[in-house]
Amino acid sequence: MQVELVSPEAVLFSGECSQVVTRTVDGDIAFLDHHAAFIGALDIGQTQLWASDGIVTLALNRGFVEVSNNVVTILSDAAYAADEIDVAAAQADLEAAQAAVAADADDDEAKAALAWAETRIAVASAD
């Protein structure tokens, strides 16, 4: 199936994939060829694309996914592959977010920042 990963500023990935795994706000979901039409809101998490030249793992900071007619379109403001992630910056963000969450456990923004930092570190270190 055709997969398009689109950010507001550019098309980040476009190509054939055999499988796509991503995380909606309700949980992980996988798409194989000829998946039924689907629209979902994505959470902060990892997305994996089984491309012809190997598995691409990306850190996604929210977004949307649409599947129709064997085309998977992922819209995201921020999507980074492992080699695009600044681990030191992510680590710094992680510590700042941990401190913020510790100070106020109900701070949703801090929790999101924490999840985003963890995701980036996980993607970067998995490579």
Partner: protein, 322 residues
């Protein structure tokens, strides 16, 4: 002697030449930036197309939430304008055109008893409305050359805030980029979002063979729509910023090309005047020498020396004519 005038002219020519070099450089820079700006406009299109298509699909799948961004106001008593201009001048009428159009629209609204709010992008827009004592709700500057998505998010957030706090309508005033030689000022409705445009996108989608069955949604369509609509507003604002930026560079290139051409013409004319002044000076000088030589020849002294001088000055004269 007339060489004083010649010196003044020479100085003016040199200064015009320096100005010409600057305007020429600015023209070339603007020309190269248009190409880049156009590429960015193109690169941003897939995202905004996709977001529009997804919203259209959501809406047609019954996700038609009663979202404020989709609700047509019953009555409009306050309109917010988002005006996009440049940070810098030297681009012909680019800034003035869009800012005057905005001012006219505000005046037209005032005639119908509607109040206004202003969100401005670009230093020139801020200067223009501040000078005329308008109320400015929010101003942004520093990115008109190369707007990023984060910049668009800031401006969109300011517009959304006004929309949620008393403005019934938000209009977007910017310069549309049709081609290198064709840009036009447009004031288009921004919020509430144009549902007609969504229907259109929906039509295009279904003609391209929409989904066989209905969509599955995760989570509820209304929840997705809730999250998607702000993105749509941002994407539209982003593409307006990019188009305005491409238009700015095109306007600057045209203005600088005209300035370069004018400098060239001025230089040619002044050079002509300067040469004539120099020739006049030489002619006068030769007449004086010849007159003096004749007077001396009658008394019969220093003829050789004088004829040498005359030859040298005549050669000068012919060189100048060439």
């Amino acid at each position: 002697m007339a060489s004083g005038q010649e010196r003044i002219l020479r100085r003016r020519i040199r200064s015009i030449d320096a100005t010409k070099k600057i305007t020429r450089a600015m023209e070339l820079i603007a020309a190269s930036r248009i190409v880049r700006a156009q590429a960015r406009v193109r690169a941003a299109r897939p995202y905004s197309d996709k977001v529009t298509a997804v919203i259209a699909n959501l809406a047609s799948a019954g996700g038609e939430a009663d979202h404020p961004l989709l609700r047509e106001p019953a009555e409009v008593t306050k309109v917010a304008y988002v005006a996009i201009a440049a940070d810098r001048g030297l681009c012909g009428g680019y800034n003035n055109n869009v800012l005057r159009a905005t001012e006219r629209a505000i005046a037209a609204d005032a005639a119908e008893g509607r109040d206004y709010e202003l969100v401005l992008s670009g230093r020139k827009a801020l200067g223009y409305f501040r000078f005329r004592d308008y109320r400015i709700a929010a101003g942004f500057e520093g990115f008109s050359d190369q707007p990023s998505y984060a910049d668009a998010q800031q401006v969109a957030a300011a517009a959304t805030e006004l929309f949620e706090n008393g403005c019934h309508r938000v209009m977007l005033a910017y310069t549309q980029f049709h081609s290198m030689g064709n840009q036009s000022v447009a004031i288009v409705p921004f919020m509430p979002l144009d549902t007609g445009e969504l229907d259109e996108a929906d039509g295009a989608e279904s003609s391209a063979g929409g989904p066989e069955g209905g969509y599955e949604f995760e989570p509820e369509p209304a929840v997705i729509l809730e999250r998607l609509l702000p993105r749509y507003a941002e994407a539209r604002l982003y593409s307006a910023l990019l188009e305005a930026s491409a238009s700015e560079h095109a306007a600057r290139q045209r203005a600088m090309k005209a300035a370069t051409d004018n400098a060239e013409e001025l230089k040619t004319n002044l050079t002509r005047v300067m040469n004539r002044a120099r020739q006049d000076a030489i002619t006068t000088e030769i007449m004086e020498i010849v007159g003096g030589a004749e007077a001396l020849a009658q008394t019969g002294g220093a003829v050789d020396l004088l004829s040498d001088t005359i030859e040298a000055r005549t050669a000068d004269l012919f060189r100048a004519r060439e």
